[in-house]
């Protein structure tokens, strides 16, 4: 009988715990093993799961603290700085601390569940100021009462926190018109890693209203957008709102529903699109004609959302995993398609006009509308999208079978072809972990227009390994790394994760980015976080952290680099 390795989590020094307790009170801090362990299990990243299997205690925070005010955040951060304790700001916790491969030190989780308020809505300037734990559902519900909305929700559900998205992706079904969230932030109130406050946007200037996204001169929000929480903590943020042409409310699912994998409710899943909105689904014979039509639809200036989805529809639109797999195997949903979300702001004539344009473009590229005459059963099955394209609540159905990790790539519409080729090569080289890994191989990769004229599309391929099976996880990790390496090797796309968020070890191990952008990012980190305590090792390594990077992992990355025609990266002290 083999002896189980005992996992002994790190502990904070007693004086640090006491200092933190003095800030938030006994009720809002814990190092209870059962609780801190729970906080380490939110992640959807493969490396986090592998760490669990490896009994790596660095995956478990030493302590969780729940501040309620900006001042409390400042005090917590100052304590951490004083004692050189690494800390990680956490909302839904998907990133966890798995992306911190060089920080085995006791780590503090700062969780914001007590900071979930909408602070202020300015209807005239169409802005809303919120705390870091406010989510999309909250924001939309309040904005829509006032004839406004925030412009979209992510596929990862409307329970995503706006603050987390503001420093990550914020990709929406409606990104064609409204862009990703990076274009929808008016201001951030940051608690910097040293405890100081920095405001971005117009309110950085004393006496100026919080209404415009640029502070005077260079835009310092640029240092936070995509920083994955490693440049400081968002204590408050103000988002843009936009005119909302629908009714004052949308049908609301039960609270907590997005976490329930098999939940299916006809009141929501078979609803019509919101008032003054329509969805059009069009099938194409191949990827090429689909891409041509996507480009042309975008050029036509119609619609608020323009996207394509293949195998993923089976997850989003099926009430059970059994039906999902049946639909995948039977290729129930069209392999090549697009859908347009049309909204009427001006008059009924706008909807009629847009429909006419969509019909014309579909004709030009051999597209066929799903309708009561053509594949009505498929159109019916797609009804969950009617509301989800505006306020997404069923996205986590895709996590039924341990959805873990996504590979992104973006560029002009032809990126769809590149994404299909890269992902197909990855699957053919590494192998699939589950049948739905083949999304984007046998059908279209997910494609989202993120620019009003369709100059930029995000493509996405997802991996569905068995989280309880380490070989399956390792294979999934290889799929991801291979695809990323291939993206670099072929000089396609904007970077590691496609939307411009930065994670180690890619930042340091792919100096092709920029080139050498890691040096610039190190300089920024030095300014924002002189003691290197905020999510260290996540976004960009210091030189010291880089030297400490495990040789075995470095060698594995270098093998992938070489497979894709890239020179290996030498780690000082390890490869000299």
């Amino acid at each position: 009988m083999t002896q189980q390795k005992k996992v002994i989590p790190n502990k904070l020094p007693g004086e640090v715990f006491k200092a933190l307790e003095a800030v938030v009170g006994k009720e809002n801090i814990t190092e209870d093993r059962a609780i801190v362990e729970t906080y380490s299990k939110f992640g959807i990243d493969i490396s986090g799961f592998l760490k669990k299997h490896a009994k790596d205690p660095s995956n478990i925070p030493a302590c969780v603290v729940l501040p309620q005010t900006t001042e409390e955040i400042q005090k917590i951060v100052r304590v951490a700085n004083r004692h050189k304790i690494p800390f990680v700001p956490v909302t839904n916790g998907q990133l966890g601390i798995a992306n911190m491969p060089t920080t085995p030190a006791p780590t503090l989780f700062i969780h914001f569940s007590r900071m979930n308020n909408i602070i202020e809505i300015d209807e005239e300037s169409m802005t809303m100021r919120v705390q870091p734990y406010a989510d999309y559902a909250q924001v939309q519900a309040e904005a829509m009462k006032r004839g406004l909305w925030n412009g979209g929700t992510p596929l990862a559900t409307s329970l995503c926190k706006i603050s987390s998205q503001a420093i990550l992706a914020g990709l929406w079904q409606t990104s064609k018109k409204y862009g990703t969230i990076g274009k929808n932030i008016v201001s951030l109130t940051m608690v910097l890693p040293d405890g100081e406050i920095l405001k971005t946007g117009s309110c950085a200037v004393e006496g100026v209203d919080d209404f415009w996204e640029h502070a005077p001169g260079p835009d310092l929000y640029s240092l936070f957008r995509g920083s994955a929480g490693a440049s400081g903590i968002i204590a408050e943020l103000t988002i843009k709102l936009h005119p909302w042409p629908g009714k004052e409310s949308l049908p609301e699912p039960e609270p907590g529903r997005p976490s329930i994998r098999t939940y299916y409710d006809e009141r929501y899943d078979k609803a019509d699109p919101p008032e003054n909105h329509r969805l059009y689904w069009i099938e194409f014979k191949d990827l090429e004609s689909q891409i041509q039509a996507l480009r042309e639809m975008a050029h036509a200036g119609i619609g608020i959302g323009l996207n394509a989805a293949g195998v993923y529809n089976s997850y989003y639109c099926s009430p059970t995993q059994e039906l999902t797999l049946k639909r995948v195997k039977e290729k129930f949903f069209p392999a090549y398609n697009l859908y347009v979300i049309s909204a009427c702001f001006i008059s009924e004539k706008q909807l009629a006009y847009e429909e006419k344009v969509i019909q014309r473009i579909a004709e030009l590229y051999g597209g066929r509308f799903l309708s009561s005459e053509y594949k009505p059963e498929v159109l019916e099955a797609l009804r969950p999208w009617n509301l989800d394209c505006i306020r997404h609540v069923c996205g986590y159905r895709m996590s039924r079978h341990f959805y873990l990790d996504t590979w992104f790539c973006s560029g002009v519409p032809d990126i769809g072809t590149d994404a299909q080729k890269i992902w197909t090569t990855a699957i053919n080289t590494v192998g699939e972990t589950y049948i739905t890994d083949r999304g984007g191989v046998d059908d279209t990769p997910f494609m989202y227009a993120t620019d009003p004229a369709g100059r930029n599309f995000f493509t996405e391929a997802d991996v569905y390994p068995n989280g309880l099976d380490p070989p399956s996880l390792q294979k999934a990790q290889q799929l991801m790394l291979f695809s990323i390496g291939r993206t670099f090797g072929q000089k396609i796309g904007p970077g590691v994760t496609g939307f411009g968020a930065t994670f180690e070890p890619f930042t340091s191990f792919f100096p092709e980015m920029g080139p050498d952008v890691y040096l610039l990012l190190r300089a920024f980190r030095k300014v924002m976080d002189p003691n290197g305590v905020c999510a260290p090792g996540r976004s960009v390594f210091t030189e010291e952290e880089f030297k400490q990077f495990p040789a075995q992992l470095a060698d594995a990355i270098n093998r992938l680099r070489e497979m894709n025609g890239l020179e290996p990266i030498r780690v000082p002290g390890k490869h000299e």
Binding site: E124, S125, M126, A169, K177, Y178, K183, L198, S202, A204, V205, E206, G207, D209, F211, W212, H214, A215, P216, G217, P218, D219, L220, Y221, S222, L223, R225, G226, K240, R295, H299, A300, F345, S347, Y353, K356, R360, S410, V412, P413, A453, R455, N456, K491, G493, P494, G495, G498, G500, A501, T502, T507, M513, P515, V517, L519, L521, A523, V527, V540
Partner: protein, 501 residues
């Protein structure tokens, strides 16, 4: 080896200029900012040449001032400490991507050149109202000049895609899809989402851009312009808000009677030099008296498919809304039957308004952003302040453009001044500074702090200014790139290579 010789080794001796008269020219524009003539100007043509020049300036610890067209008109390219002007006007390549509607440009490409080039291809460049036709498009976009169609989130801002720049110590950096060296088509990354935005509004203090991709739009021959007259700015916000909430139109902006009259004065021409020669016009005075206090201009544009139908439903909605609000709306103003034709032209090449420079020779604007609802309040404050200094309110030019469906307006209010009349100039400088401070006190955002505005603005944003300075110090430890701007000082050392002061 002298600095000039080292520069000549990089670009050839014919591209290094130290003629005193020419160098004087680099040290002045029509603004109140005072420059110090550079030791010389150097005119590179390639990225590698720029990198070498930047490295040389670092070694020599001499200021390096990026210059693309010299038409910022607010002193952003005037050397504060002498040094080397790096004149990028020879870099004028244009590459048009007709398939995906973007253009690759170098810093020497001007608005006039580019608009001509893209309209030939059935595309349209978004242009700021009142920009000189010879202004560098790249610099203008980088400096966040506000496009005429800023009303719409889609077409107003965020028009920059991939870019290429040289950092202050000579390293090359590419953003967007270019960051991997591959084909263009993005604005994300490297590393950080839309990292390029760090360099916007930076006045060339954090890097030198060598190439940029900007988006262009479909050029529809079918377009219409409508005019809504107002007796006072007090009534503007309500109706503009309704138009914007319904998302009617592409352009939406306002001109007061001074500015509209200047635009419509045939006796005046668009100057090519700033300051311009003063030219009295009787026609201007007459036209000004005939026009309403403010005119709101709404442009509706067609699309590639069924353009007339699109224009028609937007026009119907605009007319219906104005009718409900009891407002006149038409494609002309009384006495100006050809007004629509003027704006069909000006919306693409909006430099006719520069005729206003004929009034006194130089124009000094207050350029700021406020929420839409505050348009009347700021106009009143500017007029009241001017009258205290015996400057007639009716001689203030007024323009604003609606941004992001009415979230804000970008306003430009002008004081006119004869730069050759020292007493008048001193009075206008004083008035302009007072008005700037007064507007800042009232909460107007001066997000592009040129000249004297920098100290005034950053004293109100100390933490932001501190972090900017720390970032600048990390990126440009010797402080060579355009020192003196944004409050960034040049630390002259004993071995600094520059003219004696």
């Amino acid at each position: 080896m002298s600095l000039k010789q080292q520069l000549a080794n990089i670009v050839g001796s014919s591209q290094v200029i130290d003629d005193a008269v020419i160098c004087e020219g680099y040290a002045k524009d029509q603004s109140f900012v005072k420059g110090k003539p550079p030791d010389c100007a150097v005119r590179p043509q390639t990225v590698e040449e720029i990198q070498e020049i930047v490295r040389l300036a670092n070694r020599a610890k001499t200021p390096l001032i990026p210059y693309s067209s010299g038409l910022n008109l607010h002193g952003a390219t005037l050397p504060a400490n002498g040094g080397i002007v790096i004149d990028l006007t020879r870099m004028r390549k244009i590459e048009i991507n007709e398939k995906d509607w973007f253009v690759i440009i170098e810093p020497g490409v001007t608005y006039e050149m580019l608009q001509d080039a893209v309209t030939e291809k059935g595309l349209r460049l978004m242009v700021p109202f009142g920009v000189p036709p010879g202004r560098s498009v790249l610099t203008s976009y980088l400096e966040r000049d506000v496009m005429l169609a800023a009303a719409s989130l889609e077409y107003g801002n965020n028009l920059i895609f991939d870019a290429e720049l040289i950092l202050p110590q000579g390293e090359l950096l590419r953003t967007g899809c270019w960051n991997l060296g591959g084909r263009p088509g993005g604005f994300y990354g490297p590393g950080l989402n839309m990292l390029y935005k760090l360099w916007t509004g930076a006045q060339g203090t954090l890097g030198i851009f060598t190439r940029m991709i900007i988006t262009v739009q479909h050029f529809s021959p079918q377009r219409r312009f409508f005019f809504i007259p107002f007796n006072s700015s007090e009534e503007i916000a309500d109706i503009v808000k309704l138009i914007q909430r319904k998302e009617i139109g592409c352009e939406c902006f306002g001109l007061n009677r001074f500015n509209l009259a200047a635009l419509l004065t045939d006796e005046w021409e668009v100057p090519r030099q700033f300051p311009a020669a003063k030219k009295p016009s009787a026609q201007f005075d007459i036209v000004k008296k005939t026009l309403p206090a403010w005119t709101i201009i709404v442009g509706i544009t067609g699309s590639p498919y069924f353009p007339e139908e699109k224009i028609q439903y937007e026009e119907d909605a605009l007319r219906e809304l104005c009718k409900e609000m009891g407002r006149a709306v038409d494609t002309r103003l009384p006495g100006f039957p050809d007004l629509e034709a003027v704006f069909l032209r000006e919306s693409l090449r909006p430099w006719g308004i520069l005729k206003k420079f004929n009034y006194r020779g130089s124009v000094h604007d207050l350029s700021f952003k406020v929420p839409l609802k505050r348009i009347h309040e700021v106009e009143t404050a500017i007029a009241a302040g001017a009258q205290k200094d015996n400057y007639a309110a009716q001689d203030i030019g007024g323009y604003f453009v609606v941004m992001e469906r009415g979230r804000a307006i970008h306003g430009e209010f002008d004081f006119h001044c004869d730069p050759t009349a020292s007493e008048e100039k001193d009075r206008v400088i004083k008035m302009w500074l007072t008005a700037s401070k007064d507007l800042m006190d009232k909460g107007a955002l001066f997000d592009r702090p040129y000249g004297d505005w920098a100290d005034m603005v950053y004293s109100r944003a100390p933490q932001y200014a501190l972090k900017l300075k720390q970032i600048k110090q990390e990126m440009d430890p010797k402080g060579i790139l355009n020192p003196g701007k944004l409050g960034f000082k040049f630390q002259k050392t004993e071995d600094s290579c520059q003219n004696s002061e």
